[in-house]
Symmetry: C2
Subunit: 324 residues, 2 copies
């Protein structure tokens, strides 16, 4: 083929490749090491080369792809559901954690810890079909706003991470979410917001029952937890869903540590990244002492193992996408 | 662009498209209806069009993609493992189902039903790391032979189904296995044999535990069943792993009926297929009375709902791939 023809045909691609794939990242160490890693594993014939089929990248969601303060966004959803369902449950007026939630005292409601959380999740999920639940989430996520910023929750995703996801995919990576959040709370909107399809979302999972309802097959949500996709549950969720070890893992809390350890222990060249919340002005600043997204042991291990720790304040020039 | 240039650039594709994508299928009704379905859902702008992201196709494995007689191939594997492990378990000599298995009396061993099966599976899985288990399966599948045909088990896959998988993928479908078999028994070889990567294999799943072994993270198999991917478990497995309803489903037994019902009840144009084992000369002939791969209720429902029932004897001109 004539050179001018090749140039016409591949010109668009060549241009896109030359442009900065991570414009919201400052030219500090993390950006350089991400690009260097991607170039290494995609260079055919090099010792670090990883075949495209094995380029699995996993991302935590809360605090890693979108914000998580002052509490996990799924909790705002659950509280709105509790309020909507309260008229059908007069007994909740005297029963924790519902009583406190309905009075607006989230802190008291969550004092019951994981048990309280499980009760809230179950009360707001159980008995619904998967299709009913998907519709409820879709409606909520398109209208509910964050109490502090007034933004839609899906506008509180991190622009630099959106660029990172797209950059990895452009280089043959399959990008997954591996979150402690509910799998069916995330799936209705992750494709639109992150470019991650439902089958690449791994999360905490409730029981399901197959039954015929009104003559049609339905999957009904049960009040039980089938998989808790946090801490040790993350590598387990990865093994169940993917069956291959990732070569790229990103998280922001101690809940992601097992996932990063599992990734780092693979035979292939790999990359582990922690997002460190250091920017109280543009987002929130928290780590070792935070009740939400606590990063303590993980920070020590990241430092010891020289994983990449993103300092949000100095490494990112934008936090949230600029919305018109 | 000049017409001659377009012709050069797309010529190869046009040619491939014109060739018969299903040469091992006779020109009977099922082949015609598969091709007609694929053309309908891939024709942009038509009322039956389905976007590529939603073209999910699910296939049972045992009896649908490979043979399953005189017993599920995973059982041959389990028996070989029991024999290999027997010296470490002197107590098995007097304990069912192991005693009968070691004497070669599989029928007596399996008389204990699902409980016996679970004991065999647990004894051969538990305590191994996922990597150890993968290596054991990989070694076994590359050498073990079927007692009747003398073929490797991976040579007893159905050539017409391999063509169907490839044809669907060439038309933008994502192909999945949804099997009652063990997820980690299938994953080590499905990519090589079927072109289906591990992350698109759904199967019965054991418990896993994350732990640090010899200073390295490991996932250890536990003696418990986390998900039984048969009957009602199939639509549940599909929902958990994929989170979208398939538009194409293929099975061969009553164990696949819920999966086909779930697929058929979707809003999109869809296709349900049963492989009916009718060829005693080239394979096996069985249906309503068979202890393995029983097809009874499913056959009635397929007839009532006009699903596609493949008559292996008359619809397929080859059963197994021709091996050199």
């Amino acid at each position: 083929m004539k050179a001018w023809l090749i140039s016409i045909l591949v010109g668009g691609t060549a241009f896109a490749h030359a442009a900065d794939p991570l414009p919201s990242w400052n030219d500090t160490a993390p950006k350089q090491s991400i690009i260097s890693f991607v170039e290494k594993v995609t260079k055919d014939g090099a010792s670090d080369f990883v075949p495209a089929a094995e380029r699995i990248a996993v991302f935590d969601n809360d605090g890693c792809l979108w914000a998580e303060q002052p509490m996990y966004f799924q909790l705002f959803f659950a509280i709105d559901r509790i309020k909507a369902l309260a008229p059908q449950h007069p007994e909740w007026k005297d029963k924790e954690p519902f009583a406190s939630l309905l009075k607006g005292d989230t802190k008291a409601a969550l004092a019951g810890g994981e048990h309280a959380l499980a009760q809230i999740v179950m009360a707001t999920h159980a008995g619904l079909t998967t299709e009913e639940f998907e519709k409820i989430v879709t409606d909520w996520i398109s209208t509910a706003k964050h109490p502090k910023t007034g933004k839609l929750f899906t506008q509180m995703v991190y622009q630099p991470m959106l660029e990172l996801l797209a950059y990895l995919r452009a280089n043959g990576f399959k990008t997954y979410i591996v979150s402690g959040g509910g799998i069916e709370f995330m799936r209705p909107w992750t494709e639109r917001v992150y470019g991650i399809p439902p089958e690449q979302v791994i999360g905490s999972t409730g029981g399901l029952k197959y039954e015929i309802r009104d003559g049609k097959p339905a999957l009904v949500k049960l009040p039980e937890i089938a998989h808790n996709d946090d801490k040790d549950g993350k590598p387990i969720g990865i093994q169940r869903h993917i069956g291959r070890r990732p070569i790229f893992a990103a998280g922001n809390s101690d809940g992601d540590l097992a996932m990063l350890q599992w990734t780092a222990a693979g035979d292939r060249t790999n990359f582990c990244l922690y997002v460190h919340h250091t920017d109280a002005a543009r987002e929130w600043a928290y780590d070792r002492e935070s009740p939400i997204g606590k990063l303590d042991k993980g920070l020590d291990e990241a430092n010891a193992k020289r994983w990449n720790v993103i300092d949000m304040k100095s490494d990112w020039n934008i936090i949230f996408p600029v919305t018109p």
